[in-house]
Symmetry: C2
Amino acid sequence: MGHTHVTAATSDEGAAVPVTIRDVARASGVHISTVSRTFSAPHLVNPETRVRVLACAEDLGYRPNRAARALITGRTHNIGLIIADIANPFFPPLIKAAESQARNRDYHVFVADTNEDPAAEEELVHALAKQVDGVLLCSPRMSNSLIEQLSREVPLVVVNRQVTGLPCVLMDVGQGARAAIEHLIGLGHRAIALLGGPRSSWTNREMRRAAAAAARAGGAELTLLGPNAPTETGGSAVAEQVRRSGVSAVLAYNDLMAIGLIEGLDALGVRVPQEVSVVGVDDIALSRLTRPKLTTVATPTGAAGRTAVDMLLQQDTESPRGARGSGAGTALGVRRTTAQVMLQTDLVIRDSTGPGPHARPARPLAAPLGPDPHCPAGPGIPTAANGDAVAS
Amino acid sequence: MGHTHVTAATSDEGAAVPVTIRDVARASGVHISTVSRTFSAPHLVNPETRVRVLACAEDLGYRPNRAARALITGRTHNIGLIIADIANPFFPPLIKAAESQARNRDYHVFVADTNEDPAAEEELVHALAKQVDGVLLCSPRMSNSLIEQLSREVPLVVVNRQVTGLPCVLMDVGQGARAAIEHLIGLGHRAIALLGGPRSSWTNREMRRAAAAAARAGGAELTLLGPNAPTETGGSAVAEQVRRSGVSAVLAYNDLMAIGLIEGLDALGVRVPQEVSVVGVDDIALSRLTRPKLTTVATPTGAAGRTAVDMLLQQDTESPRGARGSGAGTALGVRRTTAQVMLQTDLVIRDSTGPGPHARPARPLAAPLGPDPHCPAGPGIPTAANGDAVAS
DNA sequence: GGTGATCCTGCAAAGGTTTGCAGTGAAGTA
DNA sequence: TACTTCACTGCAAACCTTTGCAGGATCACC
């Protein structure tokens, strides 16, 4: 199995000593309900008693059993995070931000990886439903209707997908794609390719829509290539196709594909950005480290994670599930307010884009940039600088 | 807040309809205990009854409530995964593998990020203890004694750290460091620097020990630089120091630092590998994508995650916590077998290492390699190819 | 027909916590 | 003094499930 056992020993270990509310009650000479109240409704208990109970609890190392608490309150203080692919560098910052935000609110986070499999997503929602107060669906691959259906089982917040009637956190990739296309047109590119991502991706559709519109407006021709796997391999696989298509610039579905494409083009002897300009999406940490450094549409993944958690928890506070008196009758018709939030994106111009065939030689539109300028160029910038070229 | 509200609506939603074992019992005309047995001990129930119950359960969409089950069985079927920094690309593959392995065994995974903070680690173990059957501590930063102490509260498996008496999953970075140093010596380097990582890291100590021994054996001088933050910034920050130190090769604590160092050297006008060779550790996905492609010691992170989960679950099966009859008396003296597993590492030679000042011009020791050879060179290879040089 | 054995099912307690209700004693009010 | 109010605490049911025990039915065997 490729590994070596270094040691195998047996040792005496004190077994886990589960200290319960009852132990604390006994130690402090009060009834368990008083102990319970000390933690969940401190104002209902005499200050003197309270300090005594707290002292005993501290002494014994008591921690309320959240599962038992959940059983009766209906709130687990857990949330679920369902991710298409943890290894995709787009997600870790989102996971990190979401987990941090959740923990600040005293929630724990289940993380699950679906391997981009819609069936796994559904199964996971079912499996987690009883154990969490809500689930974050990140870049889901399943259908909208299924998502809606599942949302009746457990509160859902969707990231990177628009589902009517459900709280969603979106990144404005439409605007990002437009900015990217305008940037390229401003550099003198007129034949541009769009490397599509997974078919079922909302982001993919948005990008296509916006890129097509921007290209039309700018008098450029947009070639659609895809769908492709949203990975490095997916990008390098289409390098040959890109070369044959004769475009001078490419907007890729994400950074990984962009980087893969640059690799592939390099292998074919096509230089970036001298012969072909490449723009990615996401601004993963990696994009700062490749050569050339990647021009990309930065998406606020951390903010998305935090926002999504906030929305979930807020929604959760509004309509507690499994409330005491619910009895057998299903409390139908709970009014739930759902907001959809769109987060801004920023075009970050680095070194993978350069002048195209139609560049105006007089004006140094694309002056060679210093190392890692990392200057977020808002959507206005390309338009402002090259408005006349675009207007034609 | 940098975001725009697109929509804010209210909608009617069917509330969560928690279907319990009682509903299934009623629907299928049996007692709840029979339903319970249908799921947890099928052989005890009449086949006819069983199919009827299963049909009803399916119909109603019943899923056992794991929290309630845990309350009485003492097994939550959850595990905790405590990570120093999710955004560090070393960890996502580990998380992914561990989660996948756990789910295959019908376990769910809590993931928590400590931001490299030992205090957060301790707090998290406490917080999760009651909710999980065990915790995976990945590259912990807290002291061994604290880890041992915490292991009395909840079963622990430690990754990337050796703690006597506890199950550990280790990567043989000692061997890896040795192979790296031998590789560098074989290339003709005699002045080598070791970029250290965090002080409290076990990996760091192992690497230092092994690298020093290998350098001594090979007649090279090893300069220790550190401790440093295990990040790209940590690497680029010492570039100047590396240049001044006059070494011709560097072994970095991990790939991120190595990449940062290359960046930093590049900014100083020092070329890699022509003037300085750089070796990393981990073989994160990124190391294949930077220019030059990074020579690195590949650590089997996926295997580590899977192995750790297996060890945790096995240990867990042996000594069920909170068993029924435990009563008040603590079942002291539970014998627990703890194994420590060492996983092999592989030196992957890519483009960031080249001939040093003492290279033998006749033999093309470091012939220019094709694109992405990715040929794992076992520890034997450098020794075999350059044995005589090393023996001096 | 009687005796066990076997198979299946129901009963009820248990697990740790929350919470509506009622009870206690003291303080405040008339 | 009698009555109300208030602050605090205890009681017990409830959440959902598992599981030891016992009861009932069926069957085989003598």
